[in-house]
């Protein structure tokens, strides 16, 4: 008797809240919580990634399902001077731009690590190039690089009288390549500087005090304290920077669209030109897939950077 009343009592107590109880059941809750994120990422990231690799092995064009053609697309790319050109420029672009961004960004971070008035305002202003839409600042650069009305040419020719003729920034291959690299460095400095500044601020001042007691010079303090302490964060920021510089699209598409005479094509712009504008989805996908080995290399770089940091600190921390 007492047992039945108890169970009916608990039943009555539990009945209305079965939904609440279901959501309090841990495995169910975990699945429900992960479902939106995992769902979105699987449908719009993992599946397209796989599909992209599949497309690279087919001759799909817009409006026609392709058939499997094996390595034909890649064989064609290997004989295509434009692809080699894009690989060459992608590597040059990434190499020089990354070096420039990190040299100047590190310098800026060191400058910002000093004490001076209005520091937070300055830090906020410096990030502006990074938060403004890249295409829009690229348009400003396009205007700055105008063959006739370039403000840089004006400065050099009419104000400083260093040159007698305007600079043709975007008209011939090498000046165009370096103009794009300069714009990329301009856009990348703030991110590098602010990230590295955060790293600099975690270095304990007592290390510098100890070094100074031992009579270390400014260069030695930088070389043997700042630089090694910054290695882990440098490795991470650099990996991100390399990945996103190598796959850059916006700057080149906005300023030169790959010209003059296809000399400034990056792999991403070439893939867009062939895949979307030209309709050769299979070939475009093959160009995009050909970026992956470079990215894997950069990611491994990041992984070993992280591993090294854990090893240095002697404990598992994140």
């Amino acid at each position: 008797m007492s047992v039945t009343t108890l169970s009916s009592h608990t039943l009555a107590h539990r009945q209305p809240s079965w939904l609440v109880r279901l959501f309090d059941y841990k495995p169910f809750l975990i699945v429900m919580c992960l479902a939106p994120a995992i769902g979105l990422l699987s449908v719009f990231l993992t599946y397209p990634l796989g599909l992209g690799i599949w497309l690279a092995f087919t001759d799909t064009t817009i409006g026609r399902r392709g058939i499997f053609v094996g390595f034909e697309n890649f064989q064609y790319l290997l004989t295509d001077p434009l692809w080699w050109n894009a690989v060459f420029y992608s590597v040059v672009y990434t190499g020089i731009a990354t070096f420039g961004k990190f040299a100047l960004g590190f310098w800026l971070a060191l400058l910002l690590n000093n004490h001076f008035p209005f520091k937070s305002v300055l830090r906020a202003i410096i990030l502006l190039p990074w938060i403004v839409p890249t295409v829009l600042s690229a348009l400003a650069f396009w205007w700055i690089y105008d063959p006739q009305f370039s403000i840089i040419s004006y400065l050099l020719v009419d104000v400083l009288h260093w040159r007698s003729s305007n600079i043709d920034f975007l008209g011939s291959p090498w000046p165009a390549r370096f103009s794009l690299i300069a714009a990329n460095i301009w856009r990348g400095i703030p991110f590098v500087a602010i990230s590295l500044l955060a790293g600099l601020q975690t270095i304990s001042p007592s290390l510098y005090e100890a070094a100074m007691l031992d009579g270390a010079s400014a260069w030695q303090r930088f070389r043997y304290i700042t630089f090694p302490m910054m290695m882990p964060i440098l490795a991470i920021v650099m990996t991100f920077s390399i990945i996103f510089t190598f796959t850059d699209f916006q700057l080149v598409y906005a300023i030169t669209r790959g010209g003059p005479v296809n000399s400034t094509h990056l792999l991403a712009t070439l893939a867009f030109q062939r895949g979307i504008a030209g309709g050769e989805l299979g070939e475009g996908a093959a160009i995009a897939v050909s970026m992956i080995p470079f990215l894997v290399f950069a990611t491994l770089f990041s992984y070993f950077g992280l591993a090294r940091r854990k090893w240095q600190q002697g404990e598992a921390n994140d």
Partner: protein
């Protein structure tokens, strides 16, 4: 100090930090303020140039002999008026705003739940799920846009802003999840345990304890997502065809750049107006933004 013998040693000790901080006036000026000034000048000049071009009449724009190009003698609103009334610019702004807000909301919901599950519900393999989501951040859009275009067409979403709202979370969710995991980590477990003892369900704990404490993290993730989706270009370029549905960055480049004679005034005015919303949004939440940027890197 009273001991005269100790005086030189004290002076020596004082001199050392001085040289470290470069406090000698001129040296400090040359080593810090001068380079810093150059950096600020170069980093901000394109914006100054953009702004000044938007308000210059065409006659001044193309004549450096008679007008100093660094200043405007007779500012005009003609370019902005042209932009707002003769083009679909207001419409583009509206679409961009819709896409940015939609994708930000979607990614915030998805990543809050995911971060909560990974960091607080802790199950076997949760670190691997976290790592997987982090790796998703390393897949750049340039690799994905071609297959994604076919996926978008399959779903019948081609040329619809909804496609962008659904696709942008692919790069927003990894970042936000990673950021929020960091924030959730900083909230003491004891608070949740107390609530559990008091009979709260896990969803109640999330809503009433964890989320209110993670508000700074949510704001950081929100503004970061907003600016990233406002700035996104390659997906918007590949998935949107009709002029009316374009986002601002794409529309300026494809609709305003016409023919061989570029209307630099209108182009720069469009860039300025397109940059302002993010710039204002950013200036309101600068500290959150900087902390999320640096926090995500440190994670």
């Amino acid at each position: 100090m009273t001991d005269t013998a100790a005086q030189p040693a004290v002076a020596d000790a004082k001199a050392a930090p001085d040289t470290m901080a470069w406090d000698s006036g001129l040296r400090r000026l040359m080593m810090i303020y001068l380079p810093l000034g150059c950096f600020v000048l170069i980093l901000l000049f394109p914006f100054y140039w953009m702004a000044i071009t938007s308000f210059k009449p065409n006659a001044e724009l193309m004549n450096y002999r008679d007008h100093n190009p660094f200043w405007i003698s007779s500012p005009t609103l003609a370019h902005i008026k042209h932009l707002l009334f003769d083009t679909a610019y207001p419409r583009w702004l509206k679409t961009t705003m819709l896409v940015a807000i939609g994708s930000t909301t979607l990614s915030l919901i998805a990543s809050t739940l995911a971060a909560y599950a990974i960091e607080r519900l802790r199950f076997r393999g949760s670190p691997y799920v976290g790592l997987g989501i982090y790796l998703a951040y390393l897949v750049p859009p340039s690799i994905l846009f071609i297959p994604l275009a076919t996926v978008v067409v399959q779903f019948g979403l081609f040329d619809s802003p909804l496609a962008l709202i659904l696709v942008y979370p692919t790069f927003l969710v990894p970042f936000c999840t990673w950021l929020l995991i960091g924030y959730f980590k900083s909230i003491p477990y004891e608070l949740e345990e107390c609530a559990l003892v008091d009979g709260a369900t896990r969803l109640q704990i999330l809503r009433r304890i964890t989320l209110p404490l993670a508000v700074p993290g949510l704001i950081s993730a929100g503004i970061f997502s907003f600016t990233l989706s406002w700035n996104e270009f390659i997906y918007a370029l590949a998935f949107i065809q009709s002029g009316a549905n374009k986002t601002v960055p794409v529309a300026i480049l494809t609709e305003l750049v016409t023919g061989d004679v570029y209307q630099w005034g209108a182009l720069m005015a469009g860039s300025l107006l397109g940059s302002l919303p993010v710039a204002i949004f950013y200036s309101l939440f600068v500290d959150y933004y900087v902390s999320s940027l640096t926090g995500a890197v440190k994670e």
